[in-house]
Symmetry: C2
Subunit: 221 residues, 2 copies
Amino acid sequence: MAGSDPFGHRFADQGLLAQALTHRSAGAPHNERLEFLGDALLGLVAAEALYQRFPRADEGALTRARAELVRESTLARIARRLDVGPRLMLGPGEMKSGGHRRDSILSDALEAVIAAIYLDAGFAACRIAVLAWLEPELEGFEINKVGKDAKTRLQEWLQGRQRPLPLYELLGESGDEHARTFVVACRITEPALASEGEGGSRRAAEQAAAAAILEQLEGPR
Amino acid sequence: MAGSDPFGHRFADQGLLAQALTHRSAGAPHNERLEFLGDALLGLVAAEALYQRFPRADEGALTRARAELVRESTLARIARRLDVGPRLMLGPGEMKSGGHRRDSILSDALEAVIAAIYLDAGFAACRIAVLAWLEPELEGFEINKVGKDAKTRLQEWLQGRQRPLPLYELLGESGDEHARTFVVACRITEPALASEGEGGSRRAAEQAAAAAILEQLEGPR
């Protein structure tokens, strides 16, 4: 019977689950209204998880952490772990263009499933299911680093280990006066890593370069 | 015992209620973290109320309606009905400057009270209390008018009553080339009302003027 509760919840009303997995392109009833409700449910479960887990975090840190936790790329990652893609009902056009792999469609469907669980079985059941999905995202979550910009985080990473600070170097500028592109290199020595970043300002290019180094140090966020 | 449940909930833990009513200016433990949690709870209860009450509204209309329902001025109005102001703990500076009457402080405290009820008694109790507070706001709520701009709403108001359409007239322009200010008059004949609106574009000034007429017709939103 494992197939009947792929999301950690056994639906009494399978119609709700089917609707949650139906993209607008496949016709009505589709999952857009459920997504609206699921977004609010997810927001609450994420907020409470952070509130309980980080008793000393202030409101600003909690708010930034919640945005990180519920952003599209995070939800799409959870949806992939839960194998949402192959279960989606899509119209032929979306099917052809790979809609079942698209972040936005996956994350919307995940939110709709959250609402479907709530309508099927109430808040407690919904909360338990969603907390289980969020758990891997919350593991090792460092609330005070969320929302800080990449240059600051890289600097703190290095200072915390008493290593030399990064060097940034402007490699080039191009484009018209009103649409310039800057390319910056970032280098650190321990470990010896280098990256390049591009952006519409020198600062943006430096941030992109620092983010690339951070990714090498910490893995993708 | 009516004094013990001013918010439609009798707190087992009076300390939670006290914290929810304590503004940051009065020292710790204050209500900022509770406000973070309460904001998410309110968002969910409002979303579900709209989802259930407007079964044919699409996601866009629901999203706009929710924003209207949970905005600061709405929450401050609810807080005033619940007599939150006189119960607030404020620091001496905020006390002197009338902080217990300020929209932002009232709406933050209301959100914190929502979280306090949740932590005291769970989601079901919290939902019942919040729904009761929202009820007067939802009465007569016209979901398809929310989020439409003021000119459109004014036009629809008049057309729905088969009355003449408004006239807009540019009264003046001033300011530098890059910071111009436009002043526009709006006049309707049934009932005979006039208003002026100001804005950084002619359209913005017209919207402001239409909003002022709507407020005369419908009362403040």
